[in-house]
Amino acid sequence: MRENKGETPAFDEGRVQQIIAELAVMEGPLLPILHALNEEFGYISDEAVGLVASALNLTRAEVHGVMTFYHDFRRAPAGRHLLKICRAEACQSMGGAGIAERLLAGLATDWHGTTGDGQITVEPVYCLGLCACAPAAMLDEKPIGRLNLDKLDAALAEARGK
């Protein structure tokens, strides 16, 4: 994941074109291209949208429409680490909502927000498939089950230290 590779690279038209050229041969290439751009740059810029549209013979509006439909595609860079906290029913049954509330208060941010130091972006997620060890979260790609604030604090401290 992008978050573990360090700083987000600046927009690079050559690299965008390269990604598009590599993936445009697929059947239905738009989502794979958007995923690749999102991972490479940490978000999808307006310039990139224009390049994708012209390569796939779509309007910018069509690409914009697809990009904004899906929760994963970002229009602005996230923090260095992405923390996804499950809000779905199984996690609620184990007190997940209260944990998330206290965490957000502690980080002084809200859902979709990033901490002041630019380190952690918190996103809600509806199910991580960890429902038998709820509540659950995922920090970058590290899953955390039977979540509590101590476990979260430890994971965040470790991530920040990297």
């Binding site: 697809v66 709820a134 995922m138 955390i144």
Partner: protein, 517 residues
């Protein structure tokens, strides 16, 4: 050399399996012990994860849940020879949670190395595909029909009929699509297959390709499952290298390949037609049916779209015969169902069994009640669009028809348990909120109804015009149920109305409750 099995299923990782594996590795290196560590999927006993197994002369012996701090004492107790220890559970298959199961689909999961073709073949792998190649497409479809298998994604449509429809359609090309967009809270069976026994899914999809005359398959997996994506991607490459995918599979003349595609965080893309649009590179908007995907699906071509568990059941059906599979189950629900017991439950995990257990047996006997130790108040069956059941309906058998008869649904087989601290008005509100967040926006009842429903339930919770607003929610739910294009808007009334009807006390304002007393 002693073989030690440590799961790498994401559920086990979430409970520290990697840390335990590292501690064991460090210790065997330091002490110079000869151990072969095999990373497996999960047996599905998440209350015992990380569950570590040692191969001994008396079979595999399990220890769990193992923490890093237990590792030294396990070695001191000679656990590599199956020695006594407080965490020793004996042979896993004799553990009550596993002993009562009928594992057909999940027979290998947690047992084999998911990325070993030799393990897969040694445990009955590829026999279904080989038989399908021998008997040919028509006979293969006949076996699937005979098995009584119904779509395990939730809709329960007979798989054999669907396959026959696509097989009979003529087109320049056809597609096989696997729906691995397992978004329902309380479900994780698809994920466990992809992480723990990925070649079974490859085999099931290849059989489908042969049966309907398709050479290309797609697996659409949700992006929330990075571990499943990694394992399945590796499995595809291995299957291709060994000639189980690609041109002229095992010299049979049949060619079939699979591409894995990642979703992008949209729940509605688990709806089959929205999934097809998403695969085509569009917004995941639901299509009106007809045309059915079996006639006009991906890129307008005849397409079979089935859930992971449906494809996963097929190799066994071809290998053992449709009748073997149909002999399990009750009524029109044939075969086995991997029930996923989750939420506030003591023994959470995957329980594969023939249809027909009652909710009470699943929650109280198998699940052992709540994790919190408080009384069970409600269970939600079938994901965020499934109904909430109170204890008074715990005699309901877990099958498609019995749940439907009580205004519920089986869905993808998930059960989420809640204790007596749950506020059912808040759960009803959450169902509407979830629908509002995830609606594709195509049809009005879902797009606008969910937002209005959320606002109205907020007013009920605030104690404003409670009676009138409850009547409004009831009416709105009828509109959503009958007017929505797909199951998202159409089924969200299940959790809302079941909460309202079975737990009316949670919808009264404190003032009204006081007056009633």
């Amino acid at each position: 050399m002693t073989r030690l099995f440590i799961p790498k299923d994401v559920g086990a990782l979430a409970l520290g399996a990697d840390d335990v594996a590292r501690a064991i590795q460090n210790l065997v290196t330091a002490r110079g012990i000869d151990v072969d560590i095999v990373r497996t999927g999960s047996r599905g006993l998440f209350f015992l994860e990380p569950l570590i197994e040692v191969e001994t002369a008396h079979g595999r012996i399990g220890y769990g849940p193992v923490g890093v701090s237990d590792v030294a004492s396990l070695f001191d107790a000679q656990f590599l020879a199956g020695g006594a220890h407080g965490l020793r559970i004996g042979r896993p298959e004799e553990h009550p949670f596993l002993a009562g199961q009928t594992r057909l689909t999940f027979a290998r999961c947690g047992v084999i190395d998911p990325l070993s073709l030799a393990d897969y073949a040694a445990h009955g792998g590829w026999r279904g595909l080989k038989r399908a190649l021998e008997i040919g497409p028509a006979a293969a479809i006949a076996e699937v029909s005979k098995s009584g298998l119904r779509g395990r994604g939730g809709a329960g449509f007979p798989t054999g009929i669907k396959w026959k429809t696509a097989a009979d359609a003529s087109a320049d090309r056809k597609y096989v699509v696997c729906n691995a967009d397992e978004g329902d809270s309380g479900t994780f069976a698809d994920r466990m297959v992809m992480e723990g026994d990925p070649f079974m899914l490859v085999e099931g999809m290849a059989i489908c390709g042969l049966a309907i005359g398709a050479n290309k398959g797609f697996v659409y997996c949700r992006s929330e499952y990075p571990h499943a994506i990694a394992t399945f991607t590796a499995a595809l490459a291995m299957a291709r290298d060994e000639g189980w995918l690609g041109g002229n599979i095992q010299g049979s003349g049949f060619s079939f390949d699979i591409e894995l595609r990642k979703g992008a965080g949209s729940y509605v893309c688990g709806e089959e037609t929205a999934l097809l649009d998403s695969l085509e590179g569009k917004r995941g908007v639901v299509r009106a049916k007809p045309p059915l995907p079996a006639h006009k699906g991906l890129f307008g071509r005849p397409t079979i779209i089935n859930n992971v568990l449906s494809f996963a059941a097929v190799p066994m059906i071809l290998d053992r015969g449709g009748t073997f599979y149909a002999d399990f189950g009750m009524g029109r629900s044939r075969g086995t169902m991997p029930i996923q017991i989750a939420g506030n439950v003591r023994y959470g995990g995957l329980y594969e069994t023939a249809f027909g257990l009652t909710l009470g047996e699943i929650v109280d006997t198998i699940g052992g009640g709540t994790a919190s130790g408080r009384p069970v108040r409600a269970v939600q069956c079938g994901g965020p669009l499934g109904a909430y059941f109170p204890r008074s309906l715990f005699d309901t058998p877990f099958d498609y028809e019995a749940l439907a008869a009580r205004d519920g649904l089986l869905g993808h087989g998930g059960i989420v348990v809640f204790d007596d601290t749950v506020d059912m008005a808040r759960m009803a509100r959450f169902a509407m909120e979830f629908c509002a967040v995830e609606s594709c926006g195509k049809c009005t009842p879902c797009r606008i109804g969910s937002v209005r429903g959320m606002e109205t339930i907020d007013r009920i919770i605030a104690g404003k015009d409670t009676h009138a607003n409850i009547a409004l929610v009831e009416d709105l739910c009828q509109t959503m149920k009958f007017g929505s294009l797909c199951a998202l808007g159409g089924f969200v009334p299940y959790p809302v109305l079941s909460a309202l009807h079975h737990f009316p006390e949670d919808f009264r304002s404190p003032a009204m409750s006081a007056a009633a007393q």
